[in-house]
Structure formats: C-alpha cells, structure tokens
Symmetry: C3
Subunit: 354 residues, 3 copies
C-alpha cells in the first residue's frame, strides 16, 4: 500500500512560513537527511545535523525558521517553526491513511454475548470474544482476537489491538490505545504460607485505566486484592511492563519498557521510570520524580528527585560514587604506598574499624 | 454485576467468636479502614493500623481477638482469630460469584480435534483450539482463545485464561491456574555456531507443570532439549517470568515478576526469587534459598542462604559493602589527608599493589 | 505420541565411524548418561562426563572418536566425530515426526481476506486472521490464532506459532520461526511533552525481519517512527525481549531472554547480549561485541569488546573492581590503622580531596 503525497499536499499539512525551490517528485516516504533519496521527505529536527541539509537527496526538506540555505535544483525547502512537530503532522496523516477508521459493526466470526452492550459506532473485529454484561463505547475498535470479560467496560474512541485481554470487571477510559498482548486483570500475586504451602489470597478487585492512556505490547496489570489497581489519565506505558496489584499510578507518567512495579506502590503524577527499573512493594514515588535505567528502588522517592543505581540513591551521588568506584585500584595503591612509607605491615597490627 | 452480602451472610462465612453492634446496610464492597464508606466491609489486618478502626466509616469491620473497642451506631464489629484470613474467606466467596463454574461442554466456535480427549465435565470456551491427541481433564476450564497442542495433557480442575498456549506434548497437572498469555513449550534457546552462523539445536523435550501451580500473565517456559523442563507442585510464578529449557524448579517456590532463569538451572524446594532476579545457566539454587530484587546470580547458592546484588553475594555482606560504598568519598578524603601529613606525592613514588 | 527408532535407524541418521555391542531395545527417548534407562539413547557431549559412560544404563550411546571403552551386554556404542552434533541430527528427525509438515490450505475457521495473497503451499491454521493485501509465502505455516495485518509480508518456509501478531506493513523474511506471543509492529514509544501532557508522535514505519531469524515467545518489536526497525539475517532472539523503534540489529547476533534495546540503537553483526541486558537509546554496539548478564549499557561499545556491569565497562576492569569492592572492609581497616599510627583524627583536620 503506497501512501503518496504531492509537495503541495505536504505544504497544506505543515503550513510553512516560506518555501524555496520546486520538485516534480511525488513524496513516497520519509527518511533522515542522510538516508533520503529523491521522492523522500526529510527534516532538520536536531541542529547538530544542520550540515547534512545541503547534501541531502530528499526532494522535500522541512527546515527551521532560522535555517539559512537554498535547495538544489529539483528540490524544495519548507521553513516551519518546529520541523519535528511538522513531521509529526505528516505522520499523523499517514497513520490515518494506513489505519482508516474501520466500519462499525460486529464481525460475524466474533463471539459477542447478547448481554454485552456494544455502541452502534463501535467496531468488533474478527474472532473477538465479548462476554456478558461487558460494555464497548462509541467508535471503539477491537481489532481482532481481543477478549473482553464479563462486566468489563471499555470507553469511547479506544483501540484494542490483536490479542489484548481485558478481564472481568476491569475498566478502560476513553481514547485508550492497548497494544497487542496487553493483559488487564490477571490475578494479583498474593499467597499466605500455611503448613508448608502457599495458599492463595483471592484477588477480586479490578484494574481501572484512565483516559488517554497508551499501553505497550505484552504489558501486564494485575487486579487488586479487593479494591482497584489504577493507571491515571494521560500516562504512557511501554512494552513488557509489569504493574502489580493495588498499584496506583498517577497522571501523565512515563514507564519505559520492562519496568516492574510491585504491589501497593503509589506513583504520583508526572513520574518517569526508565527502562528495566524495579520498584519494591508499598513505596511511594513522589510527583515528578525520575529514575534512571535499571534502577532498583527499595525506599520511597521524594517528589521531584532523580534517582539511579541499585539500591537507588540520588543521581548525582550515584554518579560520584561510580567515579570513585572506578578509582579504587588507585586508592589501594595509595594506601599500600603509605603503609610502605610507614613500614606498617597489615598482618601484624590490630586496628579499630571505622 | 453487584455482589451483595447481608452482615449475617458475612458472619456465616467468617464465623466470628463474638460480635458487637448492628448495621442495616448490605455489604457491597471491601475497602481499607481509611477508605471505607457505609456499605463496605473492612478489616484490621495489620496492628499498625489499629488507630484507624475507631474512625472508619465501614459498616462491618473484622477485628482480631485482642482488639478492644466498640462500634459506632449503625456499625458492627466481628472478632475473629485472623482478620486477614477471614477476609480471604469472604473474597473466596466473591470469587466464586464473579467467576461461577462454567457450563461443561465445547463452545461451537472452538476448534477441537475429534482425536482429542475432553472430559465430559470440562468446559472449552469460545475460539479455543485443541489439537489431535490432546487431553483435557475433568472440570478444567479453557476460558477463551486458548491453544492446546498435539498430545498435550491438561489435568483436572485447571483454569487456562484467554490466550494461553500449551504446546505439543507439554503436561499440566491438577488445579493449575495459567493466566493470559502464558506460553508453555516454546523452543529452548540453543544454537551451535558453525561456519559463521548459529545453527539450531532442535528442542524436542517437553514442559511439565506440577499440581497446584499458578503462573502469571505472559510468562514463558521453554521446552527441554530432549528431556523435561519442570515446575514442581505448589510453586507460584508471577507475570513476565522466563524459564529456560531443562530448568527444574522444585516444590512450593515463589518466583516474582520478571525473573529470568537460564537453561539447565536447578531450583530446589521453597526457594524465593524476588522481582527481576536473573539466574545464569547450569547453577543450583539450594532448598529454601532467597534472592533479593534484581540480584544477578552467577554461581550456585547454598540451601537456606539469602543473597543479594550483582553478582549475588550473601545478603549481610552485600549490605555492609553497600554502606562502605557510600562512604567512599570520606575514605578518599582520609587517604588524601594522610598523604598530606606525610608529604607524600602520589605522582612520584612507585608502589607495590595489594 | 511415541517416537520409536530401531538402533539401526539411529545409525542411519548419525552414520557412525564404528560401532560395538548390540541392543534388542527400541529407542524410545533421549536422556543424559546419568538419567538414562534401557530404551534410551544417550551421548557423551562433554568430556567432563566421560566417567559416566561406563555406568550408564542407556541402550545406545554416542561417543566421540577418541573414547576408549566397551559397552555392557545388551548395550551399543556408536563412535562419531561430534556426539552433540550427531544427537542434534537425531533430534531434528524427532522434530520432523512430532511436527509434521501441515497440509497446505486455509482452515475454514480462519478469517482470510480475499485481497490477501496466500501461496498455494502455505498452511493457514484455525482461527488465524489475515487482512487485506497481506502476503504469505510458500510452505509457510501460520499455526493457529495468528494475526497478519494489512499489507504485511511473510516470506517462504516460515513458522508462526499460536498467537503471533505481525502488524500492518511489517515484513518477515524466509525460514523465520516466530514463537507464540511475538508482537511485530506495536507503536514505537514516542511522545512530545506539550502543555503538561505527553502528545503522541505517530509511528508509521515498519519492522523488517531478515531470513533465518528466530524470535522467542512474547518478545516485542516496535515499528519505526517513519523508517524501519530491522533484525538482520540469522539473528536469534530469546523470549521476552524488547526491541524499540528504529533499532537496527545486524546479522547473526544473539539476544538472550529479557534483553531490552531502546530506540534507535544500532547493533552490528555477531553481537551477543546475555540475559536482562539493557541498552540505552541511540548507541552503537560494535561488531562482535559481548555484554554480560544484566549489563546496563549507557554508552556505545567498541567492536570486539566485552563489557559487564551497570554502567557497562570492559569486562576485566569490571571484574577487578568487583574484587576490590569486596575488599573494602579491609581497606577501611588499613586506613584506620594508619590514622591511629599517625594519631590523626579525621574530625579535626581539613583535607583537600582527590
């Protein structure tokens, strides 16, 4: 499927402040300045690549307002405020073309309970299952092979991709995008150790996903023991992330890939957790706090702070200790030299420790 | 779907030793002491919240035998031996109501081989696939979109949630709960490097899951090279855990979320691995050993020991080293002061190293 | 399902240089020297187990050319160049028997667009979905419940296991094996922070998987922002691995389980990343480089180097620092002893730091 734009159509989308040059090419794809060939749209998104503009083979280049230069023959420059944002406008148009709004209705191969409430503008794709009492909102799209359990509620304008599972009683807000393999509402991981066996603590709470949340492929969210596991409005979660039972995540947070959040953690608004971060149970991560990749958070983190390492400590302290850690060979040498100058022999003298 | 209990029904479930007060409310949900409102059941599970009982708005509160206090008007206290265990009894009843035993039989949309053996009391939900020679035991429930491969065997009283995959020849015991997205029997990760390419070592063994095991969403278990990858009876495994080929896990272990176990590892009974722990190949983790979150286990661990860190070392040693690590800035200062007092200049004197 | 070989059939497969002894048993399974019982095939794959050959109960044992010894009565030894490779030949035959080539054709329960192009020798299993414009190559097998999106292309001789998702426009080469739950083409994780909200950067690129790639269960690959996320020919990827948008992975790499690769990383040919390694965004991992388990790679890695730790540094340096780290209690004692011998009191004298 070929998406084709004329240069004039691109200009209509990005609304340039000015333009120079002319190209006869249709725009067939997007490429970096370096990789671009005729027929490509490119852009100067980062000033450090400024030197690549003049040599780029792209037919059409989005440049920032302060860029000075002129296109080669058969090439056009469009000056815009923010080339990266302008490119996103083009990509959004491409997205609409590649994934057109599906026709409303229920695919004949889907298994949808007569007791489910499906909005008339919703689209239930092939081989989906929707159980008794479930609700699917207006214009929401269950793409294919999606499962929506009993009494679960999906709001309006959502997109659930192939293989998503939303279990019994879980709730999804509006404009939520769940990528393939997301599981909402697996049992929380709770057992009591009785007579040498782990006895299950039943998990009968739910998962509640706020508006405008996006969740990446194969991420998992456990239902609460008896209340709600919550993801706040506007929070974005990457692939293969684990969120334990009773966790409450605030608004507009970012959880990168493979983050693991243990049970009953509270993550306040605007928190950013980089890839593979782990958070131990029952902690609070304060508003706007950040954690570096692979950080192991074993105590609560103050609002606004930036932590790193395992166990996670303030970022600058962690960086300083890392530098000193690398200087340990030198330190051992210095201590040995001191001992030699003092004729001390470590084997012979007892020492107090501190 | 509303689950309603009368206070008398709750009392019938938890069998209190004594009761005080009276409430006209029906019990509609469960909440913590602090969050509870009229119509809620709450409980004093942890003595540190004792002070919250008197102010709680819950209509019904489970308190331990030694709790002293009296309910407000319209409120009832029930004294029980273990409020947390009593609450679990209530939750278990809620679970039975929310997930009633499905009707036996095969959903017409399921694709079940005529050569599969399905117990008459088993329930095969919509859009499941069961291949030739597979067995499904009495009262076992394949909820929806489950795959059971050729000659695989699922025991009695299991629950396989939407999207579970049990591949060819794999075996699952009795009373096993597999959450959505679990994959049993992907190929082990084995290659031989021949002439600049990784040549596949065929993986023709199986995966064998013992009785009373529970496995969390999207966890993966590879089939053995030619024998069996094993999970012992009563072991509980959280979400997104990876278990490599030929691993043998004992009975009653706990593997928390995102743990990774490399090939041919032996994990003995009652081992506990916290979240994101990694275990290198061919090691043995002795009976009852524990590892802290994110530990990187690169050598075998003795029975009963508790390790932490990467590489994992005994917990107390790791903690002590972590404290000294944080004191490195101080140590560098102390050494500099000694050198100054001795007029030593690190640049000029050679030193033996130790 | 029982796979039975006569000793003569095994000999035909492994083509021994010589043989000794005779067994009347049919070969029913494969086991290690120690575990083997009559009816088992075993092998001496690693010289350190040489002592176990004489006591093994296996009916048939593959031994290397230089092995000296003689079978017990009712037992046969086969001398081969490489017993492990010979065993793989047997396992490959077992694999062919356990997973015979499926019949070509489209299962009646599959939902395949009339606008998809399915090769006549391809096999589309039950409950698969293939959308408009998708291509499936000769002899390729979509086992069950697989999703192939609009305009996606799957080459010849591939095997997509139950529950695999290949999204719109993604491309898969020839002889590719995708295990259950693999997701190709989830959106890249890209947002711009505007007015207190994370605004989605549309992700309209694709994922391109080269020939002879194998990808483990539940691993996820994000589509590029506008170009291609690439996995090169012959690369092998384990379970639960995350590959971000715009990542380019070279040929013949090994990515072990739970590795996470952030966006726009370049991984050159023959790189090996051990389990749970994390790679930060926009880095280059040079040709043939290796990283140890759980390494946190935060800067580019030179070709041929071997790194370890978080942040990842050269392996030998990391090992040396780890040893010194364990000697910190000793170092603190030595410094205290020096201070005592000098009558220095850390509280009283200011010191320059270095």
């Amino acid at each position: 499927m070929q998406v084709l734009f004329s240069p004039a159509q691109i200009a209509e989308i990005v609304k340039p402040k000015s333009a120079l040059g002319d190209t006869a090419e249709s725009i067939r794809s997007i490429a970096s300045l370096e990789d671009a060939r005729p027929g490509d749209l490119s852009f100067l998104g980062n000033p450090k690549y400024k030197g690549q503009v003049a040599g780029s083979k792209a037919s059409l280049i989005l440049v920032p307002g302060d860029y000075e230069g002129a296109p080669q023959p058969g090439q056009q420059y469009l000056w815009v405020d923010n080339p990266s944002a302008a490119l996103s406008l083009v990509c959004a148009r491409v997205e609409q073309i590649l994934w057109p709004k599906p026709e409303p209705g229920i695919h004949p191969s889907a298994v949808v309970s007569a007791k489910a409430r499906i909005a008339t503008s919703a689209s239930i794709g092939p081989l989906c299952v929707v159980e008794d009492g479930a609700e699917v909102g207006e214009r929401t799209h269950l793409q294919a092979q999606v499962f929506v359990g009993r009494e679960a509620r999906i709001g309006a304008d959502c997109w659930l991709m192939p293989g998503v599972v939303v279990s019994t009683l879980c709730e999804v807000g509006q404009r939520v995008r769940l990528h393939s393999g997301v599981v909402l509402g697996a049992d929380g991981f709770g057992y009591e150790f009785v007579s040498g066996r782990h006895q299950k603590v039943p998990q009968v709470g739910t998962v509640v996903i706020g508006n405008d949340v996006e969740i990446g492929a194969n991420s998992t969210f456990d239902r609460a023991r008896f209340s709600r596991t919550v993801v706040g409005e506007g929070t974005k979660i990457d692939n293969l992330v684990q969120v334990g039972h009773n966790v409450v995540i605030g608004k507009h947070c970012i959880l990168c890939s493979q983050v693991g959040v243990s049970g009953s953690v509270v993550i306040e608004d605007y928190v950013v957790l980089a890839g593979q971060v782990g958070v131990a149970g029952h902690l609070t991560i304060g508003k706007g706090a950040k954690a570096g990749g692979q950080a192991g958070i074993s105590s609560s983190v103050a609002a606004g702070s930036y932590v790193n390492g395992t166990p996670a400590i303030p970022y600058l302290l962690e960086r300083r200790l890392a530098v000193l850690h690398q200087r340990m060979p030198e330190l051992f040498k210095r201590v040995a030299r001191i001992e030699e100058s003092l004729k001390l022999d470590i084997e012979q003298t007892p020492a107090r420790e501190h």
